[in-house]
């Protein structure tokens, strides 16, 4: 089975600090990581291939340093990695991103399954996976917590707000995975060594025959026009004193504020 895993390099938000003066993110010196849900996607790809054979190709679109994320995926055990990198892709929104990825996947050619994380940590949109499935004209199953492949049939257990749903579809298809699907492995020393030497091809917009009018800012219908830090609408009140009095005071405050 040929599996393509799409990943994104994101800033490590657990390391992100907030500037107390401006209330904005301090991004300098913040390490980059593979989007955590994408690590689950890689792990699931590796497990499926270990079980049924085939190979895992990891694909990312990003700046040159995104190659680091690909090496990490190779160290985990992925067979091949491709970096989609071109100034023409800069400023892509989710539509332009899914278009660019779809072009790269058409160039890769044969595939049975595409796996994405459910969403990225920085943008939180959850739009690229389904957008990509649409661009490729294949079915999508989002929020997978369990995946089984039998012949050309895919059976997925989905984790929804208040229920599980078991859905089947035919291959090729695209799934997005939730964190609970597996525990991503750590790269071993041998993997790290192999990844360090691996050849990672870089594909440009031209290499994947992408229409320049559908890439980057040109191909992005949405535009961010303003970025600001969220207003704190209140000053918190710290309640002090005897525990029981504090508890009663809290209930009183909630009643006054009509929360109860």
């Amino acid at each position: 089975m040929n599996i393509i895993v799409c990943i994104k390099q994101v800033p490590d938000t657990t390391e992100v600090a907030i500037d107390p003066e401006t209330g904005t993110l301090i991004r300098e010196g913040v390490p980059s990581i593979i989007n955590p849900f994408d690590e689950n996607a890689i792990e699931e790809g590796l497990r499926l291939v270990e079980k049924d054979g085939g190979k895992v190709t990891v694909l990312t679109m990003g700046p040159p340093q995104a190659e680091q994320a690909l090496r990490q995926a190779l160290a985990m055990g992925a067979d091949e990695a491709i970096l989609l990198c071109d100034r023409a892709f800069a400023g892509s929104d989710t539509l332009a991103t899914s278009y660019a990825l779809s072009r790269a996947i058409r160039k890769i050619g044969d595939f049975d399954l595409i796996i994405c994380g459910k969403q990225a940590f920085d943008g939180d949109t959850a739009q690229v996976g389904p957008g990509l499935a649409e661009q490729l004209g294949i079915p999508q199953i989002t929020y997978a917590i369990e995946v089984a492949v039998e012949r050309k049939k895919l059976r997925v257990r989905r984790l929804l707000e208040d229920r599980f749903e078991i859905t089947e579809t035919r291959l090729p298809a695209l799934i997005t995975v939730v964190k609970q699907i597996n525990e991503p492995r750590h790269a071993g020393l041998r993997g790290v060594m192999k990844a360090r030497k691996a050849d990672i091809p870089t594909w440009t917009a031209e290499d994947v025959d992408a229409d320049p009018l559908r890439c980057g800012l040109n191909g992005s219908p949405t535009n961010v026009v303003k970025v600001f830090s969220p207003q704190r609408q209140h000053e918190g009140e710290i309640l002090e004193g005897d525990t029981e009095e504090v508890a009663l005071a809290l209930v009183e405050r909630l009643r006054e504020a009509k929360v109860l």
Binding site: L95, Q140, R163, F164, E168, V224, G236, T243
Partner: protein, 399 residues
Amino acid sequence: MGIYIETDKCTGCKLCLRACPYGAIAVEEDKAHFTEDCTSCGACVSACPVGAIVMEVVRAAQVDTSQYRGIWVIAEVQDGHLAEVTLELLGKARELAEALQVPVSLVLPGDEVSGLAARAGQYGADEVYLVEHQNLAQYRTGPYTNVICGLINKHKPEIVLIGATLQGRDLASRIAARIGAGLTADCTGLEIDTEERLLRQTRPAFGGNIMATILCQQARPQMATVRPRVMKKLEPQDGQEPQIINVPVSLDAKSIATKIVEIIREEQQEVVNLQDADIIVSGGRGLKAPENFSVIRELAEAIGGAVGASRATVDAGWIPAYHQVGQTGKTVHPKLYIACGISGAVQHLAGMSTSDCIIAINTDPNAPIFDVAHYGVVGDLFEVVPALTDAFNKEFGQS
């Protein structure tokens, strides 16, 4: 936007006929062609085994925005009722519609859902596109996308709002990619720029540390998924009968790629829908041991709330993952959020900082959770939480 058939490639196999929801393809002399009922919904494109059907790419710059008028809400039906978020969106759509002087329409796909149309009217819909079919009984990406894209292409709304539920995000992304629309995820603020006639969409990014305002100047419709529990639904108005537009569709089960085999709802009350809870009591690492979640549960019970948890406690295996609030867990917006022994890592705050009222209980006065809390108690949760449980029990008249 257009769609066409490359006649020399067409083999006349008729698979596209089965895929077309609007009965708008005819095959004559072994060649398929579209009839005037075609909505350019695109359902036939992936059904064609020889790639003879081509959807023209929409270029935003070529869109005549003046052709697009009206505000649409796409309904989500849960257990036979309109989802709360659908009612909230109708309320918001009403407000936006006043600014634009256009009607509000609800698109209501499902099976035997006509009874819900009247309720949509009470909450602000002027008209309802009623799309009933047995193969729409359960949400599935494919048929819902096909049907709705057809309606959008035919009637050209300027704004389409969808709840940012898991279903809504699955659907909205697919629709936007097909029709080349701009889509903003998980909005918490929507307003009209009346001068430019544009929808200003505001959403949190970087786990809520930054807010971004997004415009979609050229492409139409302007699409947004909207976070549940943020917009306010209207007081229901009796006697507001919406105009109902029946949309006949044909959906052949064989042309639908996915099949729902089973739906499993766990019986234990443990599986709570955190997103729908009015009150959430959450525990963090300060609980020290898994069995101490009992303190949280008792408070939750006293106040009629659901139990939430920080990532640290879930990762440690103290409590199942569906309780997790935060960036890798659930984003919640309850009326009251009580954080007990939670320090307030960025990724946790991202999931709960928009709650109406936040109470934080923590031993560390410098914990970041106090920055978002409306009321804070610096103290030992094992003393404060039980005291609070007692106080609530007294408040609600229980011994």
